[in-house]
């Protein structure tokens, strides 16, 4: 598969064309005759991101018979698998799959991309105060302002909401309730006054995963516990001692993040329970809040075998250098345990 000379970049809506040819018929211009009624359908997935909702892009005909255009949006960089299924009129179905490399949005040489296809919005001008439950009503809007009403389920929920204080010292992972009008609601209590970052991880129907960010100011006394981020690859909570493996974490390519889990006696933790459809969740944010990654462990036999030794591997790709904070969440004995980490990416 040939990709455009300039490559594909995250964060932009792109139209990638493909051609369906019939090898039994020659065409004096194109070489092989195009198949005009191939009735193609496509899926886009990320093999390294198990559980990521499938994108089913729209396909349209292009100006040359047999040429088709895929309307794609890549939420972040990485290796994507594009599967194309054909149901040619009068012919038998066929299928082909192609891997394409998508560069991070920051790598784009031509400046910023157009506005992303979706945004998250807090409706009704919430005016939260520290320590009080504040009803939040959240909408996902298309570029034209329409509220998205249909979502795919990702890890058992239509929306994963991550809320964190600006200094990243406080974090929650919640699941607002979907409403008939397409919005989501949740009562959220903030521990202190100040600014908060909010990330909604959603998958509009057939459009794949989208992590959308906004912010919110909370009134009330400010927290006294502003803690500068110091690199830390070891965390303890809920009877689990977790250690993130040493090693450099480079920018712009997928890297494994290997965690070893022990109990406080030094014994491997081997009794993790699935939580929200995965053996763990890892949420990672750049210190300034400008990049967010939501990752899940690999599945399959090898991953299960490692899990039995108290080892959990996530994959992540960091779009830019800096200090990142991560929260790993695991469920054990019915309790969800959240473990914070801080590390540098260079």
């Amino acid at each position: 598969m040939r990709v455009p000379d300039a490559g594909l970049y995250a964060g932009e809506t792109v139209d990638v064309e493909f051609r369906v040819s019939d090898t039994t018929r020659k065409d004096p211009i194109e070489g092989l005759a195009g198949v005009e009624d191939a009735n193609p359908a496509a899926t886009v997935t990320m093999p390294e991101m198990p559980g990521m909702p499938v994108q089913r892009p729209s396909i349209h005909r292009e100006g040359v018979p047999g040429d088709y255009g895929l309307e794609l949006f890549f939420p972040h960089g990485g290796t994507y698998k594009i599967g194309v299924r054909l149901a040619p009129t009068g012919g038998k179905p066929a299928y082909a799959a192609f891997n394409v490399e998508v560069k991070d949005a920051d790598a784009r040489p031509e400046g910023k991309a157009a506005a992303p296809p979706y945004r998250v919005e807090l409706l009704g001008s919430p005016n939260p105060s520290a320590g009080k439950a504040t009803p939040l009503r959240i909408a996902i809007r298309e570029r034209n302002g329409t509220i998205v009403r249909r979502f795919d389920i990702a890890h058992t929920k239509p929306m994963h909401l991550m809320v964190m204080s600006k200094d990243l010292s406080w974090f929650v992972h919640e699941h607002p309730a979907p409403q008939p009008d397409g919005t989501f609601t949740i009562d959220q209590t903030f521990p202190a006054g100040g600014d908060y970052r909010i990330f909604a991880d959603v998958a509009p129907k057939d459009k794949g995963s989208q992590v959308l960010g906004t912010s919110l100011r909370v009134g009330g006394p400010m927290s006294n516990r502003v803690v500068p981020l110091k690199p830390s690859r070891r965390a303890t909570s809920g009877g689990i001692v977790a250690t993130l493996a040493d090693g450099p974490l480079p920018v712009g390519r997928s890297v494994p993040l290997a965690f070893r889990l022990h109990d406080t006696q030094g014994r491997p933790v081997t009794d993790l329970q699935p939580y929200l459809g995965a053996n763990g969740h890892l949420m990672i944010v750049l210190q300034d809040g400008s990049a967010f990654v939501h990752s899940h462990p690999a599945d399959g036999a090898a991953a299960q075998a490692r899990l039995q030794k108290g080892e959990v591997d996530f994959n992540a790709r960091f779009p830019r250098a800096g200090t990142y904070k991560a929260w790993a969440q695991f469920q054990r004995r019915g309790q969800v345990v959240t473990l914070p980490f801080v590390f540098r990416v260079d």
């Binding site: 051609r19 369906v20 005909r61 292009e62 009068g90 066929a94 031509e110």
Partner: protein
């Protein structure tokens, strides 16, 4: 009808466009306006084929005018009154003609006519088009009040001007 399988080959390749292969967002290389995509009722994209290059234009006028920058033989696929059946313009040894695919050969196509009646270039996608037949032109004519069908030579003269 014979089966296309197993000899049906899927060749997926991103096509070479002048900037990035982003048909929705790539402006027409001649007029700079967005290239209109095909709709359910009609095709809109004009494609110039020069060697291995495929370049998308907003209208036939733009493709013909821009073709001057390419030396050598080339083809222009012009959207017609029938979806999936563009009118094919061929420039061979500097001479333009309308051709059609007949088996593995190209043969002359008779009867094609053209519309090129835009006042403002914003209208070019709708008002610079091709038709396999006069009847196709007549059916489209309500969208182009007062327009008359052009021969290829007349269209080329406008594009050259």
């Amino acid at each position: 009808m014979r089966s296309l399988f197993p000899t049906l080959a899927l060749i997926v390749s991103s096509l070479v466009l002048p900037a990035r292969a982003l048909a929705h967002e790539v402006p027409c290389p001649l007029c700079g306006l967005k290239v209109a995509q095909a709709t359910k009722s009609q095709d809109n994209e004009v494609v110039l084929r020069f060697g291995k290059k495929r370049i998308e234009y907003r209208c036939v006028y733009c493709a013909l005018a821009d073709a001057k920058k390419y030396d050598g033989d080339l083809f222009v696929y012009a959207p017609s009154e029938t979806k999936g059946k563009p009118v094919i313009l061929s420039r061979a040894a500097g001479k333009w003609s309308v051709v059609k695919v007949d088996g593995e050969k190209l043969v002359p196509e008779e009867g094609a006519v053209f519309l090129n009646a835009f006042d403002s270039h914003k209208e070019c996608a709708a008002l610079s088009r091709a038709f396999h037949t006069q009847a196709g032109f007549e059916a489209y004519k309500p969208k182009a009040k007062g327009a008359r069908p052009l021969t290829l030579d007349e269209l080329l003269a406008k594009a050259a001007g």
